[in-house]
């Protein structure tokens, strides 16, 4: 990219992008080793002679505590980093005390279930309680016994304060990174986003071009939709045979459970089968009688009018869950994309001057449904590699990083389990039942036998609305609905879900609230002024003739909306929660790269202000 703008430059030894569990693991491990016991630095800073290496981490969100995930994890790697871990020191953390997996039947009759699922439902009806059947046994690969439930926001705060407290690394939230500084296939640092620009990125009042921060090593831990990771994938390509086509969006709430709720802290519930068979749910109970709960809407849910929010409300109202939730209060809300390709989507993990860790590096294990611990482990492994290279005064070349980091990762439990899980989700590309069978096969045979699947690009999967709702809505009616919804600037999902038999959600103002109220109550902030829009459409003509506009249906914050005047959808940065779901929820290919969709998602400022997520 040619850049004629005069930019300030700054030098560091190591620059990290994104502060999540992976970078947390990296900085925790590295920070402990940067100064020897006798007080001498492990290695001398190249940019500040006489000082220990200068390590900086830039985080997009306004605070490092604004993670958006409640998690359950075995925490193997986290416990290794903190052998004396006392969970009572981390707010909202608790050891797992009870685990249940439940298959939810459809109490409404609106769920779209295939014939085999209907047959199974008919048989299970007789043993069901509260329209649900709890699995009598949880396969070992899914168990989290001995693990912990965490709030990512609180965990990140806890880790970050210790890292900062050591004084050996700086973490700067509120600082989005635009792209890596590439020189051929080598990374020389990162470029921060321009500030003081208009929505299109043109200089405006207080223009300050993004600074170039140069470093011998760039650690890319910016998650599944991070701008630096995406840029590297675009410019360097993915290794032969790899693709990143499997995604999910997780939407969740933190709920203050009602008085008298019998759920005990540390309870872990996972659900499948409802509101649609493709949608999985989770609920983790925290110590203060609050719970993190939500659903995952996957990219193989071939519904062109996907909405996570309304489906989540129907899921919460399922009798199996509602008996615990009725009377509760919404405390916080959020959403994030999950990169679910695992090993099949693994990018180049290292190159000259850079290494990738965490979810964006394909570390999420889709068989065990675990990502935080794996991300943390990859960060630790990279730190161990960096310590080794520092000690031996070896440069951060591709060869050195591959032998010190990538090999370490391959030989660890993260690498081994990633291999076992590599094809575990392939069956879902064919449907829910083959998917479940495939998971069981891969899990029980440790990846030896797998259900074959047919991977398709996200945009290829999305059928026309007319096809999907055949028999529910006539083409004539659909034309009328489109016209009515467009005039209101509304997406179609509410109208079509109503038609499909989903009842109106009885809003109570406390827990069942409108989507916009969830945004406000969940802690949505006004986006900082002076930044360019971070969601753009590569080819606006493709959008103007698009009849699905899935981006507006799925948008977690209703930031992307249908333009009443036609044409490309409108984007309102104020409402964006940066989940990145638009990136893979689009039915049109990118004009220059058909592995990607027509929606472009860059690093932006703002998002959610809720440390409870």
């Amino acid at each position: 990219m040619s850049d004629t703008v005069q930019r300030q430059e700054m030098e560091a030894d190591i620059v990290c992008v994104g502060f999540g569990p992976a970078t947390g693991g990296f900085l925790t491990t590295l920070g402990r080793a940067l100064v020897n016991e006798d007080g001498t630095p492990l290695a001398e800073s190249k940019v500040m002679p006489g000082m220990p290496p200068q390590v900086i981490c830039y985080e997009r969100a306004d605070d490092i505590g604004f993670g958006v995930s409640g998690v359950v994890t075995k925490g193997r790697s986290i416990k290794e980093s903190f052998p004396d871990l006392d969970l009572s020191q981390i707010p909202m953390a608790h050891e797992v005390t009870e685990e249940r997996v439940a298959y939810l039947l459809d109490p409404i009759g609106a769920s779209r279930r295939s014939a085999p699922v209907k047959v199974a439902d008919a048989g299970l009806k007789f043993v069901a309680r509260d329209h649900a059947v709890e699995l009598p046994w949880i396969p070992e690969f899914l168990q989290k016994h001995g693990g912990m439930v965490l709030s990512m926001g609180q965990f990140n705060q806890w880790v970050g304060s210790q890292v900062m407290g050591s004084g050996l690394a700086q973490i700067w939230p509120g600082t989005p990174v635009a792209e890596p500084l590439l020189n051929g296939r080598a990374v020389k640092g990162v470029r921060l986003v321009d500030q003081g620009v208009d929505k299109q990125g043109n200089p405006d009042a207080g223009y300050m071009p993004g600074m170039d921060v140069k470093a011998a090593l760039t650690v890319v831990g910016d998650g599944p939709v991070g701008s630096v990771g995406q840029y590297l994938d675009r410019e360097l390509g993915l290794p032969e045979g790899k693709h990143q086509r499997e995604w999910a969006v997780g939407m969740k709430m933190v709920v203050q459970l009602p008085e008298g709720c019998e759920l005990k802290p540390g309870t872990v519930l996972h659900t499948l089968g409802y509101p649609e068979p493709e949608i999985f749910g989770f609920m983790y109970v925290y110590p203060d009688m609050s719970a993190s709960l939500g659903i995952f809407v996957p990219s193989w849910f071939d519904n062109p009018v996907r909405t996570a929010y309304r489906y989540m409300q129907h899921w919460m109202m399922h009798p199996y869950l509602w008996k615990h939730l009725e009377g509760g209060t919404l405390r916080s809300w959020g959403a994030k994309s999950l990169q679910e390709s695992g090993l099949q989507g693994e990018p180049f993990l290292a190159g000259d001057g850079f290494a990738r860790i965490g979810e964006g590096s394909g570390s999420t294990n889709v068989l065990t449904g675990s990502g935080v611990d794996e991300a943390w482990a990859t960060g630790v492994q990279l730190a161990e590699a960096v310590i080794e290279l520092m000690r031996e005064r070896r440069p951060y070349t591709r060869e050195n990083l591959e032998s010190a980091y990538v090999q370490r990762r391959r030989e660890s439990w993260v690498g081994e389990e990633a291999e076992q899980a590599a094809k575990a989700r392939d069956g879902f590309t064919l449907g829910f039942i083959p998917g479940m069978l495939g998971m069981a096969l891969s899990g029980l045979t440790r990846g030896t036998i797998n259900m074959p699947g047919r991977s398709r690009k996200p945009w290829e999967r999305i059928p026309r609305i007319e096809e999907y709702f055949k028999g529910v809505v006539t083409e004539q009616e659909l034309i009328q609905l489109r016209k009515e919804c467009q005039a209101k600037g509304a997406s179609l999902h509410d109208a079509l879900m109503d038609r499909a038999g989903w009842p109106e959600v009885p809003l109570d103002g406390k827990l069942l609230v409108s989507h916009q109220d969830a945004l406000l109550m969940g802690g949505k902030v006004v986006a900082n002024p002076g930044y360019a829009d971070h969601v753009t459409f590569a080819d606006s003509y493709a959008c103007s003739v698009c009849t699905e506009q899935v981006c507006s249906e799925i948008c977690s914050g209703q930031a992307i909306s249908v333009n009443p005047e036609g044409g490309a959808p409108l984007f309102d940065r104020e409402k964006c929660v940066h989940c990145g779901a638009c990136l893979w929820n689009c039915s049109k290919p990118h004009p220059e790269d058909d592995e990607n969709t027509n929606v472009q998602f860059a690093a932006g400022s703002g998002g959610l202000h809720s440390a409870e997520n």
Binding site: M92, G160, S161, M164, T175, M211, D517
Partner: protein, 270 residues
């Protein structure tokens, strides 16, 4: 000719206004539920005071800016991550409660002691900045008491503009009743200014400023002196409760302001 100022900004921290705040009864009186979990920010008035201080210091070479803050150490550290990239300053911190359930006088006393303890501070060049409503639940009392404790009689509250003359004199624009301003002049430092919003936007994040600040921020946090503003206070709370609120959100695009005003009036009258 420019002036050299020694500007001390009192920066109180508050929970992010978007969080759910709930008072609970703690061992030593009322507290905010989960206070240590809530993300903290520099209170908006204090933020403006800091940006104005940095701007004044930049225009007057040789000037220095200190940020004096009272709050739990862990929360101060978090706030530093958010503001230390904005403007150059040196941090002085007192490790104590910032719950809002503290007595203005106790807070002013801690701040005065912290300011008195700053090495190299020249009182003849001193400007004490702060938010005019900060750290006192909006009563606007802390800065006045602090001025008295420091023996500074030139005090201005609700300041939106400060102009320094070449002769060291100060012209100050203060908010007064009825949306009007009062312009005052004084011979010069020392003075206390409780800022309203000032006239400057929030500066962009500057990584170089961050690097430079952080070298002093971390040691300052490690050396923070404990400050007890709760125990031993003469202040007692009879009761604390959240104001009642009712939320009825509708999102309407392009609504004329007249219609908005009409709706608000109708709602108030209903």
């Amino acid at each position: 000719m420019s002036n050299e100022f020694h500007i001390v900004v009192c920066g109180s921290i508050v929970p992010d206004p978007l969080q759910t705040l709930e008072p609970v009864q703690g061992a030593q009186g009322p507290e905010l539920k989960n206070e240590m979990m809530l993300p903290a920010v520099l209170d908006p008035w204090a933020g403006h005071a800091l940006y104005e201080a940095a701007n004044l210091a930049a225009k007057n070479p040789g000037s220095k800016v200190w940020l004096v803050s009272l709050g739990p150490k862990a929360k101060l550290q978090q706030v530093m991550m958010n503001i230390a990239q904005k403007v150059p300053f040196e941090l002085v911190c007192a490790d104590g409660s910032a719950s809002g359930f503290t007595d203005s006088f106790e807070v002013a006393t801690v701040l005065a002691q912290s300011i008195e303890g700053i090495q190299g501070l020249d009182k003849s060049k001193l400007l004490v900045f702060g938010g005019w409503q900060s750290a006192s639940r909006g009563s606007g009392a802390v800065m006045q008491m602090l001025g008295e404790l420091l023996g500074i009689s030139e005090q201005f509250q609700g300041v939106d503009k400060l102009t320094a003359g070449d002769d060291g004199s100060l012209e100050i624009m203060e908010r007064i009743e009825g949306g009007a301003y009062q312009v005052s002049a004084c011979n010069g430092t020392p003075a206390v200014l409780g800022w309203a919003t000032g006239e400057l936007p929030e500066p962009p994040n500057n990584p170089q400023v961050g690097m430079q600040n952080m070298r002093l921020v971390m040691p300052a946090l490690q050396q923070a002196k404990p400050a007890d503003v709760v125990q031993g206070s003469s202040l007692a709370f009879a009761a604390v409760e959240l104001p009642q609120q009712r939320r009825e959100t509708r999102v309407v695009k392009d609504m004329p302001v007249e219609d908005m005003a009409r709706e608000i009036v109708e709602w108030l009258n209903s």
